[in-house]
């Protein structure tokens, strides 16, 4: 058994069955980090001593058949935006270079309670915005892993950890997952608590999960969810609405064609695939999203920005400064439009179990950008759970993802549908590092 290649599901089961020692698992992943991290640069902090000490405790408990939860002894990565007790949390900024929280973020508390070992903190772009960080795409080091959960996506793809926590305000989980050829889930906002997580925009921030299979996402969600995730019986045939218009207008020819090919393949496998059309209010969704983000980000940074503006990257600085120019009446109006948008968009689920679009405009671009979150923002604004699954490789050898979204708080159904789609896709490719 090569522990670094195991999915979270397989590793968790192997630990429970006594076939995998948490200490051996941690040591294998640390060795993997030693081999590939100098090229990928996914980590801000790896807590070697703490991880090994925790692995020893997990191993002793496992020997006594005492398991803390479904993640017992499984090392995971945590985006460096989530507070970690006793472990530096920088939010990708030198402003917080030495900040060591005295408490864990809610999301971190949940995974620890389920038995996870925090392997370390993964790179976030500065304050979870668009300025590229140091991380490289494991499939091709000359390309971006996406952002802002750059390190989480790259670490999972590079087999340095089986799963990781990220966050998304526009497309910071779905896009890097697509670029790195892994699976992700961004649940409805209130599913997973955001306390002690450095915000970008409070009303739009979501905790996200990254893994290498839908089953991995399911285990993580069950561990992290603030309320029980309901399961529903599988329908005879899933109805999937494929949305082309806006999304295809922003996608490359290759992404469009591969997305259509996947739709055909799913149709051939018994899924009911039909074209879905966006409501008229969708037209104002991108402007609404940007207005809310700018205003809220300016408020988040009200105290921190003035004395530290020279340390801010150009993109986050422009967001904060332009946010300071927005009137409260425009912000409130944008929030009202959002509510109407959510209500109009939810009507799509009267006909469909899930909606399908590309997860990113194409394969990962070069390192000058983290890519365009245009495919993900509409779902974050709607607060609909969204899943990304890898489904193909482009001609340049980089992966492409499909995005599936479901009704609010219906993550259980979306996960079941995701498993069925994943089985049809059969994606097996891995980056060679």
């Amino acid at each position: 058994m090569n522990p670094e290649t195991l999915t979270l599901t397989a590793a968790s089961q192997a630990i429970r069955d006594g076939h995998l020692s948490p200490i051996d698992y941690v040591q294998a992943l640390l060795a993997r980090i030693d081999r590939v991290e100098p090229r990928v640069r996914a980590w801000v902090t790896v807590d070697r001593e703490g991880v090994l000490a925790e692995a020893r405790r997990c191993e002793e408990e496992a020997r006594r058949k005492q398991f803390r939860g479904p993640l017992h002894g499984v090392p995971i990565g945590v985006k460096d935006l989530f507070y970690t007790k006793g472990l530096r949390t920088t939010a990708g900024s030198e402003v917080f270079h030495d900040f060591v929280p005295s408490e864990d973020a809610r999301a971190v508390q949940r995974v620890k309670a389920a038995g996870a070992i925090i392997l370390g903190k993964t790179v976030t772009t500065m304050f979870a915005n668009l300025d590229p960080g140091p991380t490289r795409n494991p499939w091709n080091l000359a390309h971006t892993p996406g952002g802002s959960s750059s390190g989480s996506a790259a670490a999972v793809a590079a087999r340095m950890c089986p799963a990781a926590i990220g966050s998304q305000t526009i497309g910071s989980v779905g896009r890097p997952a697509a670029f790195c050829g892994i699976s992700s889930l961004v649940p409805t906002q209130r599913r997973i608590g955001l306390s002690r997580t450095w915000p970008l925009a409070w009303s739009l921030d979501h905790v996200g999960i990254m893994g290498r299979s839908v089953a991995d996402l399911e285990i993580m969600l069950d561990a992290m969810s603030e309320s029980a995730v309901e399961r529903t019986r599988r329908p005879k045939a899933y109805r999937i609405g494929i949305i082309r218009d806006y999304f295809y207008a922003h996608a490359t020819e290759e992404a469009r064609s591969l997305n259509d090919a996947l739709a055909n393949k799913l149709g051939g496998a018994g899924f009911q695939i039909e074209e879905a059309h966006l409501p008229a209010i969708f037209e104002v969704a991108p402007a609404t999203l940007r207005t809310i983000i700018r205003a809220e980000t300016a408020s988040v940074h009200e105290q921190v920005f003035p004395p530290n503006r020279h340390t801010y990257g150009p993109k986050i600085r422009a967001v904060v400064e332009t946010g300071m120019l927005i009137d409260v009446s425009d912000y409130v109006r944008a929030r009202r439009i959002r509510r109407k948008y959510q209500s109009e968009m939810a009507k799509l689920f009267e006909r469909f179990d899930a909606l399908m679009t590309p997860a990113a405009p194409g394969t990962a671009p070069d390192l000058s950008t983290t890519g365009d979150p245009v495919m993900n923002g509409p779902w974050t604004l709607a607060d609909f759970p969204a899943m990304t699954l890898p489904h193909a490789l482009g001609v340049n050898g980089l992966p492409l993802g499909v995005q599936l979204s479901g009704p609010p708080l219906q993550e259980g159904s979306l996960l079941e549908l995701g498993k069925a789609v994943e089985a049809v896709i059969g994606f097996q490719a891995q980056p060679s590092l």
């Binding site: 402007a287 609404t288 940007r290 207005t291 400064e321 425009d330 009202r336 439009i337």
Partner: protein
């Protein structure tokens, strides 16, 4: 309309950050102005609130 909004925003930016920085933000301000124009023109009724 977005040109008028951009003028107001530019004036605010000059006041807050100085003329040089406001000039550097010109393209961002234009985008904000276009967004605000769309937000202000979107159809909203008082009973749209759920």
């Amino acid at each position: 309309m977005s040109t008028e909004i951009a003028k107001v925003l530019t004036s605010r930016a000059e006041e807050k950050f100085g003329e040089e920085r406001a000039g550097q933000l010109r393209l961002d301000i234009q985008q904000v102005a276009q967004d605000l124009e769309q937000v202000r023109q979107a159809s909203l009724e008082i009973d749209d609130e759920p």
